[in-house]
Symmetry: D3
Subunit: 282 residues, 6 copies
């Protein structure tokens, strides 16, 4: 009985956090290296959050699985000026893996946990209207030109968790590969979300990258350029953090980068005063 009382106690201690986020839109970006074996557990956390009243939108990529499928299909990567080029067939394979495999697996895992999900991609409802990059011709790598959230909104209104594969479309019906961090940030801004939670495979931004304990828990987006200059933010973290910053400038309240390798990392972030990663805000 004491153990059961302790459990009840813990539930009631979650109350203020549930109340804090009730009815608010939370975009969770999940993908890449953070997509470990624990996908069932992550989806169970998502179902729980949805059930206690948050409007959860799950945005996912799936880079490693795309690479594996391209390999298996013997599709060689073309490079243009040293950059990876997405030809039409590759764009199609990206769509196939993201929207047909990863997306439906996540939807199925939510279903397994008795949650209700609808899996969509950026072509559905013209959600992510895309064009070729202005900066360089990398083929069907897309830049988002407009976001139409109506399909997401109706899914949420009817009690479904929208699960979004980051594939874009243009007016000619051509599919595009879109960076998942960029897409998640654009969707979060368009949805006027309260929070964007990005699951990665690092603790967050570390003041000293060799020292896990040097985690910066809280950063103003004004400080980002300085941290990039000083090399504290570097490599693949740069675009990820810049798109968070852009979304915050576009209306999102806050974005946080957390370590998706930790079990229940989303719950740990939302159901505590301190969070567990690096929080970006205005």
């Amino acid at each position: 009985m004491e153990e059961r009382k302790r459990r009840a106690e813990i539930l009631t201690e979650a109350l203020p956090y549930i109340q804090k986020y009730e009815g608010q839109t939370i975009v969770v970006k999940y993908g890449g290296a953070a997509m470990t074996d624990e996908q069932t557990s992550v989806m169970r956390d998502i179902v729980l959050l949805s059930l206690v009243g948050m409007r959860i939108v799950l945005v996912h990529g799936g880079g490693p699985e795309i690479s594996r499928t391209l390999d298996r299909l013997g599709k060689e990567t073309v490079f243009v000026d040293g950059l990876r080029y997405t030809d039409e067939e590759t764009a199609e394979i990206v769509s196939m893996v993201l929207a047909g495999k990863v997306n439906k697996r996540l939807v199925s895992l939510i279903h397994k946990n008795k949650g209700r999900a609808i899996g969509l991609c950026g072509a559905d409802g013209g959600m992510l209207q895309t064009k070729k990059l202005d900066s360089a011709d990398l083929g069907y790598v897309g830049e988002i030109v407009a976001v139409d959230t109506s399909a997401i909104e109706i899914a949420i209104a009817e009690g479904f968790i929208p699960v979004i594969a980051t594939v874009g479309v243009d007016d000619e019906g051509q599919l595009y590969n879109i960076n998942a961090d960029t897409a998640a940030a654009a969707l979060a801004a368009a949805l006027k979300a309260e929070k964007l939670i990005s699951l990665t495979d690092v603790r967050g931004v570390l003041a000293d990258k060799d020292e896990e304990d040097s985690l910066l828990t809280d950063l103003s987006i004004d400080d980002i350029p300085k941290l990039i200059d000083r090399g504290v933010i570097s490599g693949g973290m740069i675009p990820k953090i810049e798109s968070c910053a852009a979304a915050i400038e576009g209306g999102l309240r806050e974005a946080v980068i957390i370590d998706g390798r930790i079990e229940h990392s989303i719950l740990l972030e939302l159901f505590s005063d301190t969070g567990i990663g690096t929080l970006f805000h205005r």
Copy 2:
């Protein structure tokens, strides 16, 4: 961190129970001896259940406080044929204590826990239409003749927790004292509730009343007459259990009597497979 992970774990373990009761109507009867010093804690549990998607209706009595106020007002109890008689002034004092004091205290405690409640009595919206008892003239002690749940339904639909004081009204506008167990059961039946949870000051029905471990966890309402004959159900438990049985016959799925003196007793009942009291079912 390990402690925090353990807490997250416990939250996710509550998921199936939350899903089980999501969107269902649960009537909680609270009052009398079960109304201990822990009212704030009980109201916090109620707020939590409401937040995770249950349609909670709180029905309360308040006998001891009525007696205290009658005493302080120097109001003497009249007895007719040895039974307590409720004269007009007493009926007014009952309304005053239940609907003005206990009811508003519970509403305030829910407010303190950041929940949203609306306190009503059976006169509001003509909810509990009442007449004098047929069985004996005990003055303004009421028998329910009709239940109109519309005020409760709109409160729930708009996200409020309805808190109901068990005062009735007749066509002439006369207020009546109504037995809280009877009223809770009648409301549960009229609301087509999933479950009626009655907080009492006993463990439940005990096979051997001197042996707490002899708790009967599960009873068919068909077995009730037999248990009354054998004295297993006796005294004040008889009307309480008979009104549960009537509600189950009137459409309620199940009713349970739990020990309100145990902290978080409602959570312990709902968030486990076994429950903690005696469950009545068809």
Copy 3:
């Protein structure tokens, strides 16, 4: 037949007034000395107004009944610097009398007249968020810091007449005694009401207080300070009229003080071109 035709005639003569107020929110403040033996008749008038399409909100106090109950309970009034102090127990008794006795009596009288009412107090739905007075420590005498009209709005939308006891609540769940005139004016402003009708035990503002025929029928709120200076408005009328003026500044169209001792005074006010009391406007 002639008598019946005359009655029909009178009904059709009411048409323009019914049309004038159809769909508009009218707050009626009822209480104190105006709460005479004719409460049934006043509630019948309220039911009629509601039925012909006005959105009536009834706000009541009940000072004399509070005093009587404090006396009977032998509760002695504490004075601080010569002012009446409301200790915790007194606040509880105020709630008990207003929300449990007066409020439910009015609801019952509406029910008796086949109207549909819901009785609430300022704690319900967090309607009247209150704090201690800034001006002096008079204990739990409240000053309104915020008004949440959602419980009132849903009651009206569903066809109920909201009946409001002027008890407030703070974030800690503490109940407060609030001046009924102030509360009615605050609610009228928050509801963007068309009109606040205050039932009192005087004819209105008299130019010469010993001369009933010297009634001022119409006053701009700009003239109030001057009339206070000249003593035309004095005593208990000052706070009452100042809260009307504040509400008019806060968005209310007009406020009127009428003599509640006259039978059907509300109908006489609304169903004529001239009204019967003193009308305040911008």
Copy 4:
């Protein structure tokens, strides 16, 4: 003041009648000889009834005005086997007078009384689907084959008083002349109305037709054949009463024939216990 109090008194005495009919559908049939100079007054009564919550549907004919217009246009009436024949041009003139003149005059009079009306005929929304009479070839005199009340329902739902000219239409778009009593009864049945009030130029059914005081106030439809046999119901009253009886058999609660020449006759009927004409019921 006493006069004003008396008026207020009379208003409150109307309360039970207003409550009795609130939200109920009342079909008023107005036309023929009952359509006297007092049309403005009748429309004011209609506006009043609508405002106090009844769902009024006004159905009108206009025989005398049709005759006058036919005369002025020099249109000669054709007789077939001694019965008046409606040729295509006559049907068009009927539509013109009923839907374009009488209907719009009534709509305008409601507008003058600050009511909101929509004038329709049986062709609008395919309301009265009609075919030639089976019994005899009288040209475009119609028999109702189906009723579609959707245009009426939306008008009421949006707060308009529907005013219906009794012109029918067939699948080929041909307009028909329909008997107004029949049409009113058919509409009342299709709308599942509470009551059909038929304004005529007689007191009602008289036991002795030369004795106004011999009014039969209350008749079961089962007694109609017998009264026809005995000549108590005769002439133009027969079809009128038979269509009432048919409507009652089709679901209408009650139908009443009143003397439209009496001012405020509709109010006199509805706002009293006894009514003023002959009431037909099951």
Copy 5:
């Protein structure tokens, strides 16, 4: 089969035009000389446009039929200062012909084509609130002072095609004759329509009035005064075009004058890139 394939082809070629106007409000003005024998065909086109998603409002006059009826009734036209004067009886005859004959014929033809229409005039729902002309006393010839589109809006929302006879009404319930072009333009502006299509008996504005091929397909409203000066726009076209211009200044996107004598002229206008008449725009 080839013929059937060709038909299917043509349907799909209409797709972009259907998409262009889907959900948009199109006011069609139909009347006078354009009201030829092909009314059934015009109504079929209207039903088609409504069915493919346009919000069609049909506004009609009926001058020639009014003249014929006045003649037949032997009603002599009165002239005041050389201008035709509308006395009370004439206003009534106008209402009768427009709202009772022409309007109901159009409604019936839509019904014949399995469309759903509701015929209204400017008195219904107080749609066209009117007063006497300021410029000259021509009796009951009206100038529109206010437009209330609520009756039209609910008709469209419920899937009906509103058919509007251009009769106005004032506060006293007096009916007025209104110029149909003016009324159509006022309604189009009040409805914030996308387009006003005016069916006339000319090709449009001709640069050389004797040369049908000199059609001006496109005109800015700024050029209208100049064209009037030069005599390109003259006679009855001046008021027609000036009311279009006023509506465009009042919010309407564009207005077009097309030749109603051409079969399917409305379809030809809407389902092509070039249109068939003269288009006015800002």
Copy 6:
């Protein structure tokens, strides 16, 4: 101009067919050999039908593309007792190709034609709840146990065309390969569709399979067993037609098999009296 008039004529001739199907649910099954190079044209027809008011649900398979992908991935087909076995990896590849490639291509083509589509599979919203076949262990080849159409219904209600990939899911979140004809028939029955149109690569059912002109245009489902016996229906047509028959028994009004190789075949079927394939009905 003559050509343009002819086109307008053809549009109006489509009117009765548009009216016939307005607001009705039509399930189109598209896939396999019928999925030719003309997919853009088929999607344009779908957009047109949706725009003129039909509730179109597009259900697709994609067998040939699955085979090609399995080949390219070097995935060998396992046979059990001579039957093709779907192992877990194959089920995943099926989902990838159907839900990620074919589905998103069709959605994109609708988008290209300015239509609005949402692409879903049977896992989304738990739409196609599936289990292993009872008849034989063919791995993850599914048998539908329940259909939940809520995701489809909300998509249609919000103006989207639902495009459904026939992948199923079980309670454990396992994906299944489902026969597309079976799935389309099950969805049509669950949606209470008016019509199921199945695009195939044959003319329909031929009385003499070598004679295209021997097309049976109309068949009662009662005649199917007999035609199978006689070999008129044979091979791959048997399961296709049996699932149509089952759907008709389950509530679908009618099912038709048409030749998807003919351009605009769906329009030819719907916009003519005779249709172009074989129609099955009760």
